[in-house]
Subunit: 256 residues, 2 copies
């Protein structure tokens, strides 16, 4: 196994790169590597490089950058807005959604959100580790929580919002604006111009969005409400299912 690590510094062939103390510890004490061993480095800007350990001490590691092995390619502009859930499913969302290809995590405060205090730094570390392991050339960002109403009122033009509307099968719901039932996610995604490249997926808390929140979302022009099958999915399952369908129907999972 060749270690694959994210660093902040610029990467250029022939330039030595210092790693962090934590990375030095990981290479030396966890992976038991030594001077002369190889690794891969990426920084989210310059592609991926083959590198070699030229100095390795308890708290210090320096790598010689040998050759570029991948160029930086464009990645999907895909945001996941999610109502924070309990720690296990929350960390699970971050790890899996990073593998699936999310670029940005935006925690959303909803009426039913039960999230005392989010440890953004820890979530960012989970995203980083998942990015290193899944072969991405970038690390998704994790922002501070914002309120649902603020998200909608400051919405950037041209961006689609896929709304996982668990209660979308409620035939008797009466809406102020756009009517009735949400359609199956894949049906909705297949109907969209597939060259759209800026996407947001929003999923609710355990217990779902309130009726007022659903109305706010469904009466908004850029929102596309979708359903995810006849069973009740947990919040983390719903988020990952919607992202998988979006990437498969409209994103980079279509590449051969």
């Amino acid at each position: 196994m060749i270690p694959r690590l994210y660093i902040e510094a610029d990467l250029e062939v022939g330039v030595a790169s210092p790693l962090t103390q934590a990375q030095a510890h990981y290479l030396k004490n966890v992976l038991r590597r030594s001077v002369g061993d190889r690794m891969c480095l990426f920084n989210g800007r310059d592609g991926e490089f083959d590198a070699e350990i030229i100095e390795l001490k308890k708290q210090r590691c320096v790598a010689a950058v040998k050759a570029q092995i991948r160029i930086q390619d464009a990645e999907a502009d895909l945001t996941l807005c999610f109502a924070p859930v309990k720690r296990g499913p929350l960390e699970h969302i971050i790890q899996k959604a990073t593998e699936i290809g999310v670029a940005r995590f935006m925690p959303i405060v909803t009426d039913r959100t039960v999230a005392p205090k989010l440890n953004i730094e820890r979530l960012q570390a989970i995203a980083l580790e998942a990015a290193e392991q899944c072969g991405r050339l970038s690390v998704p960002s994790v922002s501070e929580p914002i309120k649902l109403a603020a998200l909608i009122s400051d919405w950037p033009a041209g961006r689609r919002l896929i709304f996982c509307d668990e209660a979308g099968d409620d035939e008797n719901a009466e809406w102020g604006g756009r009517a009735g039932r949400a359609a199956p996610a894949l049906e909705v995604l297949n109907s969209i111009d597939s060259n759209t490249e800026t996407w947001t997926v929003i999923t609710g808390p355990e217990g779902g969005f309130t009726l007022a929140e659903r109305k706010l979302l469904r009466d908004t022009e850029f929102v596309m409400p979708v359903t995810l099958g006849p069973r009740i999915l947990r919040a983390d399952t719903a988020a990952l299912a919607a992202l998988v369908l979006l990437q498969a129907a409209c994103g980079d999972w279509r590449r051969r």
Copy 2:
């Protein structure tokens, strides 16, 4: 919250149903219910019923079955064959795949499977709890592990096998039989007669299938190799992604 419980006995309006000791404990001590409280009962055969607690002691609960609220509908004949992974991701596969709609779990022993001993009873309990929570009318079964070669040689006629071929992007691979690269999962699924109703999805262990196993799978007529995007997915992410795509493209997630 109205509790929703699976029982083994037949369900019929007017007939009293005894619950298990564990269910009596759960209702009395965890949910703090008492005589007169309502619940829903299902058994995988007779649909779902509204019921009322008529006796509740420490180790004994009896419910009066009041009215049928859902009839038993046909569910997809969808099997997940998976190489067992570590406990966390393994339990995660069972829980999420039950929500997504799997009918049968078949653990598979592969060359790289690292699975000392599977606790089938515990996996079955996780499937049962997920079925109760997600509103299914059935509980998926979990079978004893079998070897990959035995799975393939005893394959039932007419059944499709969707093979998540992580290494499917290897352009230089040379195969004895059917050539080259796997195609994106959704592209493959969209090409299939959507009235096919018996499916199996197979996913590999951490580290993937060996080259010999990949050849065995890809040279077999009923196997459809698919890819799941350009990043390396963990074994549990891959299993759930493939199931989501199958249900959305060919299964009951298409229902409005």
